[in-house]
Every structure is written in C-alpha cells, then in structure tokens.
Symmetry: C2
Subunit: 220 residues, 2 copies
DNA sequence: CCTCCGATTGGATCGTCGTTCCAATCAGGA
DNA sequence: TCCTGATTGGAACGACGATCCAATCGGAGG
C-alpha cells in the first residue's frame, strides 16, 4: 500500500506561499486563511508550508509587507511635500480598502517591517515640510496612528459589510440605528446619522489628514 | 453512578460573568480568556455561561462596554471644552493602557455601544468648541480614529512587552533596532530612535490631540 | 553513471479552542 | 403536592494551529 500523492515538481517558495495566502485573504477575509485551505490551494502538505514559513503570524506579516511595499514602492516624486503626504496617505487608504486584512495586521503587529516603511515615508515627508525637530516625532506618531486607526475601522467595516450584504445597505442600517437613538441622550450621534449615510470614506479620510496638516502648520 | 458536582446556589448573571472575564483579561491578556478558564473561575459549566452570553464576541463586547462606560461615566464637567477634550482623551488612553484588550476590541467591532459613547462624547465637545457644522463630522471621525489608532498600538505594545519582559527593555530593544538601520535608507527612523527610547507615551498621545485641536482651530 | 546525504515534501496526529447539546436540577406558581 | 419552564454542569464535536516523521527528490563527489 502506501500510495502517497505524487510530489510536486515545481519548487515551493516563501514567495509562492505568500502570494497564495494573499489571494485567499482577498477572497474570503482573515477567517478564510487556514493552513488547510492553503495546503488545498497549493496542493501540498502542512510540513512543506512550515518549512518555508515560521507560523501563521509570520505568514500574515509577510503578506502585509508585500502589499505595503507595493504601495510605498511606487515612488511618487512630488514637488510639494504637503501634496505628497496626501498622496501617500491616500495610497495607504486605498490599499487597505482593497485588502482589509492588511489593516488588521498592521494594527496587530506594529513592529514588523511594513509599519517601519510607513513611518519612514511619512516622517521623511514631514521633514521636507520643515516641521521643527522637537515636534517631528510627535507629528509622525500622530499621523501614523491616525492612518492605522482608519485602517482598522475600514477592516472592521469590510468584515461587517461582507457578512451583511453590500456596503450601501450596511451603512444605511447603521445610520438608521444612529438616527433612532434618543436625541436627548445622544444629540451628536443622532444628528450625525445623515452625514454617516451620505459621507464618502476617502474624502473623510483626506479631511482628517488635512486637519493634521493644518495643525502641523501652526507649529512652524 | 452519576454523582455530578453540586449545583451553585448563588445565581449566575451576565454581570458576574462579564466581571470574571474582565479579571481574566486583565490578568493574562486576550489569549487567557477561554471558556474553559471562565468555567474554572466561576466553578460552573459551559452551558451556564452560554445561557447568559451569546458567544465570545458578545462577552468581549460586554466587558469592553463596562470599561469604557466606567471611564466616560465619570462626568468631567469642564468649563473649557478644549480642556475637557484633552481630559476625556487622556482618560480613554489611560483606560486602554490599563486594559489593553479594550483597545483591540474597540478596533475589532466598532459598531458596538462602547464606540458610540466615545463618538457622542467627543462629538459633543467639538460642538461646544464651535466647530462649524460641515467640518464637525469629519473632525469627530478624525479624532476618534486617532484615539483608536493609539489604542491599538498600545494594545500591541502591551502584548509584546508582556512577552518580552518589562517595558523598558522592550522599548530599548526596538530603539536599538531602529538605530542600527542604515541611515541612508531609513534617515528618519534612524534618527528617531533616540526619541523613541526616551519618549513618554501619554505625552506623545496628548501632543497628537493638541495637533488635532490646532488644526480644528484653523477651521473657525 | 552511480551513490549518498541534506533539503524538501506530504500527511497523520496532537492538544486546544469555541460551540452545541442534553440530562440533571432547581424555584415557584397552580 | 406536582409540574413546568428556567437554569446549570459537562460530555462531545468539528476546526484550528502546530508538530513530527517517513518518504522523496536533486545535485555534489566518486
């Protein structure tokens, strides 16, 4: 007996594995990425995967680095640092919007290379903006944390919208719940329901970046 | 046969369960909260817990609501809305610092009551700040997202510091890694290593809030 | 061409998790 | 007193990440 499945001929590599993992994540969200799904897609076994990858965290980090590296790698050479900051931020937003699992991962393990690249990029542009030395560190931290915060929200919303049907219906449902709150107890949220329904995520994100930049400008 | 353990006499309730869950989370982090640990601590079975709680997400959300409600419940009546915003923000920061699992949870399921309270509180204070209507929604979103971003970072750092020994050593290790990066490839991160080692998390968080408030002030 | 050894692969297996399910038990109204 | 619905305790299930090892491959040295 002992007829095992034929051994694969094309070499397995970390890159191939990471690419497959990213595809699974894009297709079915974080919950869909299991080693069982991965072995099925790659037509291999657990051992082969663990030979190239330390564990699931390592795999997620590598996939995240690949996505973020792709975004920041497109070196946008912009004359105006202010505009470059908006471009880079929006690039990150769009990438995380397209791959919500990246947002959750950036959030979960912030010491990995991906976040380092983000800090470097944003910090460098703040230097170009002539932010004074003392405030530079704080400003970079604030801006990165803002981006991460939005990233997480996006990921959560994507998880929910995927489970709940389309985005439109989901947003409407949340807005309806907000609107139905007691205006005396929740005056702000109650009246914000309309804007929640109509708002554009990208525009609101950029508005937040602009708010930051306006605050930074007062430091000069 | 069939000698089962004696049945508990004092009634189990959702509140008791949530309190026990919070204690486990505080003591051992998110990984420590399992239904098995919970049954052991409460001296009961799975069924009893599931009778009061829908599932683990529900349990985490309830524990989070309890903590956030406690923070925001201390109604800080401050004359100056600007100062009140700083107080509330810092209160949230400290709460998430003390209970890192709250940060991760706020991030993961943002439609639950806890975040609603935060929006209401911050939005209300922005209204008191005379932020013009159109910008109000964007400003509140930006500030809340910033707080959530910091919350997540804090939670991640706490997870790491707990695994890595004390916070001091962990921060030093990260700073050393930053400092050892090639200054040509990572100029900003390389030179920021010193400030990373010496910085105070609370102060940096407040500096970010102030940056926001400065930006908002330009809208008036 | 053969031999052999380290690198690589496939899959059985383990322990743990969240969750389900149901018999056992209790409290209190009929 | 009896009965019924609410509550409890714990066995069992399926899925997960991870480990382990026999099987296999490919190329360096003879």
């Amino acid at each position: 007996m002992a007829n095992r499945a034929p051994r694969r001929t094309d070499g397995l590599s970390k890159e191939v594995i990471v690419q497959a993992a990213a595809a699974i994540l894009d297709g079915g969200g974080e919950a869909a990425l299991t080693f069982r799904a991965l072995t099925a897609r790659l037509a291999t076994g657990y051992g082969a995967i663990y030979h190239h990858v330390a564990n699931k965290s390592d795999l997620l980090a590598a996939a995240t680095d690949a996505v973020i590296g792709g975004v920041l790698g497109d070196a946008v050479v912009e004359a105006e640092p202010r505009e470059a900051l908006r471009t880079v931020s929006l690039g990150l937003f769009d990438a995380i919007d397209a791959h919500p699992w990246v947002g959750a991962q950036l959030y979960r393990e912030p010491w990995r290379p991906a976040l380092l690249e983000i800090y470097e990029r944003i910090g460098g542009l703040l230097v170009a903006l002539d932010v004074p030395g003392r405030a530079l560190f704080d400003a970079a931290g604030a801006l990165v944390n803002y981006v991460l915060g939005v990233a997480g929200q996006n990921a959560a919303n994507a998880r929910l919208a995927a489970a709940d049907g389309d985005r439109e219906a989901f947003l409407g449902a949340v807005a309806a719940r907000w609107a139905s709150l007691d205006p005396d107890e929740y005056p702000f949220v109650h009246q914000a329901a309309n804007q929640l329904r109509e708002h554009d995520d990208r525009e609101q994100f950029l508005a937040g970046v602009d708010l930051f930049l306006a605050g930074i400008a007062t430091l000069r």
